[in-house]
């Protein structure tokens, strides 16, 4: 009899921390102790705490271990599996309570969550369809096909008030109804797994951890809308998710959940995977469809909407991974149950990705209406290293930053929009006092500018012009009327771009201007970067009192601009040649490098006389 299951996360995050080596070490160690007949190792999808990886969960005790590196395995097996006591060294600490955590239930990060979409993630082996079946897998599809009419399915989805999880929040039931009424055939359903927003990886974690839930949702949707063919459009960057999706589809065919005459009815459904090739704009539905058709992913004007003319000119429904994965629980537990969760306008839960300057990074699923403060300071465990919270960025490059005075707002589509940001895919990137808002705005604009498909001039040219201005500002060459110019350009790009990419591209600039205007002004007028990020506005000097003359900084300097002061055991940075890379700051063990951004009023210390360092070429001073 198997008495214990050891769940080892083999999602992308934990794999990169070495969870496959951990799995092998566990197998070997258990065999060595003759425990391999009583203890089984199960590879699961993402448990949501990639930063603690490799993570592992031991059942039936429910003990949650972090950093289970292969080297720790012998001790872990001895403590937990032989002696039956938790291996304390690998128990995580809850940054909110500062207690060692034994099970997931003791961990604020986990116990605040309500898991509907990610219910199976990190619990089942995603490559084993039977484990999915054990958790009511394909039961919803079976019931829908044998007991419900397509119209009833749509009524149920409408009653649940489910809104699309891809970002815009369009009511899913309504979308399905429009598609159902389209009279052209064949119809197609598409799963948008082109999760391009930087800072968002919830779709990846669902596809890696529970691919069948997406397939089942698509099959239910296809039945309700009268489609018989589906495509999953997934990014090429998500290698493991692609692999697991392929395995899941293959197994679903084998078990008769895909293919012809499902559950003895006349409903046929086929699913195919289409892999993207690295174009952010393909997350936009009209561009996505063109990419599925094997063409350049350039968007098209709407209307006609995909439900009228989509793939190959036929009615097409496109939903996001999370939306598809939410269909199954709604059909199993009922619309009423689902509608009881969340806020008045937005029902259910959302999977958020917490990242950036935050203690608990990872994937967390919470009901809509949770406030940003709860997300960041309770679930997220606050800001590390005692730094001060500055802003949270939501919605990726299309979203905006939200400052501290607004973090008591509940997270839903309407309130985020009111603040100038958007819900987007649910990525939350937390920034502390060390993040420069001009730099952040520049970063996102550069992203959109690069990813603009080039079809419409407002997006292609407008974002470039805005980027040029921001580049200037961050180099300390900003002009007084730059803020006004940015605002004008932003309004133009927003109003006249063809697709969502251009229409939302100015959001990061507009929100940073709205909440952090004084930072722009410091860059423009004082030529100073208050957060000390914009390189051209920095200065590096060596504190002559602290310098012990160890020469580490001089040797690490890529442009050879740190010299030994003649006759003294001290070093000095020649500012003219310094590229402000910060290599000296990172290598100095005596805390003697001073990084500052003081603007032009700052006068450089007088240059001492230097002596050459043996074996090092002197930099040519301009």
């Amino acid at each position: 009899m198997i008495r214990t299951h050891v769940l080892v996360c083999t999602g992308t995050g934990c794999t990169s921390s070495g969870s496959l080596a951990t799995r092998d070490a566990l197998l070997a160690e258990l065999k060595k102790h003759g425990l391999d007949n009583e203890i089984e190792i199960v590879e699961t999808g993402c448990m949501g705490r990639c930063d603690l990886g490799p993570v592992s969960l031991v059942h039936p005790d429910g003990t949650f271990y972090k950093n289970v590196l292969a080297a720790e395995v012998p001790k872990l097996v001895e403590e937990h599996f032989l002696k039956g006591r938790p291996y304390k060294k690998l128990l995580p600490e809850d940054p909110t309570t500062h207690n060692a955590v034994l099970t997931q239930a003791d961990f604020t990060f986990f116990n605040r969550q309500l898991r509907i979409v990610r219910d199976n993630c990190g619990v089942i082996d995603p490559e084993n369809i039977e484990e999915y079946i054990a958790r009511d897998g394909y039961l919803a599809l079976g019931k829908v096909l044998t007991e419900m009419k397509p119209e009833q399915v749509i009524t149920e989805i409408k009653a649940s008030s489910l809104r699309g999880r891809g970002g815009a929040g369009f009511p899913t039931g309504k979308k399905w109804e429009i598609m159902r009424k389209a009279s052209d055939f064949p119809k197609y359903v598409v799963c948008n797994a082109d999760e391009g927003d930087p800072g968002a990886f919830m779709n990846r974690s669902v596809l890696e951890g529970d691919p069948h839930s997406v397939i089942e949702g698509m099959a239910i949707g296809a039945y309700a809308m009268g489609a018989s063919r589906g495509f999953v459009y997934i990014r090429a960057e998500y290698g493991l998710a692609v692999k697991r999706l392929h395995i899941a589809i293959e197994q679903a065919y084998k078990y008769g959940f895909l293919g012809k005459q499902l559950f003895g009815t006349n409903f046929d459904f086929d699913v195919e995977v289409r892999i993207g090739a690295g174009a952010f704009v393909c997350g936009e539905e009209t561009a996505l469809m063109r990419s599925v058709e094997g063409r350049r992913g350039q968007p098209q004007p709407r209307p006609p909407f995909p439900a009228q003319r989509g793939l190959w000119g036929k009615p097409t429904n496109i939903n996001n991974v999370e939306t598809w994965a939410t269909i199954r629980p709604i059909m199993l537990k009922g619309a009423k149950w689902f509608a009881s969760i969340g806020t008045e306008k937005t029902k259910g839960t959302k999977v958020f990705c917490l990242a950036g300057k935050i203690n608990n990074t990872g994937v967390a699923e919470l009901p809509y209406g949770t406030t940003l403060r709860e997300m960041i300071f309770e679930v997220g465990g606050g800001i590390p290293n005692g730094k001060k919270f500055k802003a949270v960025q939501t919605g990726g490059p299309s979203g905006g930053v939200i400052p501290e005075q607004h973090i008591d707002e509940p997270i839903d589509y309407e309130s985020l929009q009111k603040l100038g940001s958007i819900m987007g895919s649910g990525g939350l990137v937390v920034m502390d006092e060390d993040s420069c808002m001009v730099d952040v705005a520049r970063f996102f604009l550069e992203f959109c500018c690069d990813e603009s498909c080039g079809k419409c001039p407002p997006c292609r040219v407008g974002t470039r012009q805005m980027l040029n201005i921001l580049d200037r500002i961050s180099k300390g060459e900003g002009e007084p009327d730059d803020i006004g110019k940015l605002q004008d350009l932003a309004a133009m790009v927003k109003d006249t771009s063809l697709c969502g990419l251009g229409q939302t591209a100015p959001n990061p600039v507009l929100t940073t201007l709205r909440y952090f205007r004084q930072e722009y002004e410091a860059h423009i007028h004082d030529k100073r970067c208050p957060a000390q990020v914009c390189r051209d506005l920095l200065s590096f000097t060596i504190n002559q009192e602290k310098c012990v003359g160890c020469s580490v900084c001089a040797r690490s300097c890529p442009v050879n601009t740190i010299f030994k002061v003649k006759g003294q055991k001290k070093y000095f940075i020649v500012e003219e040649d310094c590229i402000h890379c910060g290599a000296c700051l990172d290598t100095c063990k005596f805390d003697s490098i001073i990084k500052a951004s003081e603007g032009p009023s700052h006068t450089a210390p007088p240059k001492p006389e230097f002596e050459p360092i043996p074996g090092r070429k002197m930099a040519v001073t301009r």
Binding site: A277, A279, V429
Partner: protein, 190 residues
């Protein structure tokens, strides 16, 4: 779709046929004159997709996987086999970031520059990896082993800053850890 991108006798807008059937309607093509086995592999892939124009991106993926990059010769071969105008194939290839027309190193070093990695210092990471390898972004080392690129977001935000080398993901590589990373971890690939 109102208008096909390319003017061709083949309809790009036709819906796909169900692929994977052994009875292909397309004629068997003669192998590439060079006799390079990789072209035979490419033939198989195209046959799997029934030479469907809609599978072009998937075919390009397969081609890049076996050739390392997409030389004009390869694009020409694909275009003629799939009965697509070369301009269309070229247009698709150059639209997507994933495809490269020039040879790249044996291993791609991709430094993630997503938001989270950015706020944790990805720009400096790119610079320092470049310094360590003696190349700039977009270049390949002299021994042809590594090329340095940046990625939009690899979805490993919890491990920021992250780098991928080939298929391996490395996380929590803050700028100060880069020299050590290049000297130790990258040696494994040599």
């Amino acid at each position: 779709m109102s208008k096909p991108v390319a003017t061709s006798t083949t309809s790009i807008t036709a819906p796909p046929r169900t692929h994977g059937s052994s009875e292909s309607t397309a004629p068997m093509l003669p192998h590439h004159p060079s006799g390079d086995q990789r072209f035979a592999q490419l033939d198989q892939t195209m046959q799997h997709y029934n030479y469907e124009p809609t599978a072009l991106i998937q075919v390009l993926h397969a081609a890049q996987h076996s050739f390392g990059y997409l030389a004009l010769d390869v694009l020409r071969y694909i275009a003629s086999a799939m009965k697509l105008p070369l301009a269309h194939v070229y247009g698709v290839t150059t639209f997507y970031n994933f495809f490269s027309l020039v040879p790249r190193g044996k291993y791609q070093i991709m430094v993630c520059t997503g938001t989270t990695c950015h706020v944790r210092g990805a720009a400096t990471v790119v610079e320092r990896v470049g310094q360590q390898l003696g190349i700039k972004q977009g270049e390949t080392t002299k021994d042809g082993l590594f090329s340095l690129q940046t990625a939009r977001c690899i979805g490993a935000c919890a491990l920021a800053p992250a780098i991928t080398v080939g298929d391996d993901v490395y996380g929590k590589l803050s700028p100060d850890k880069i020299p050590r990373f290049c000297q130790k971890e990258l040696k494994k690939y040599v």
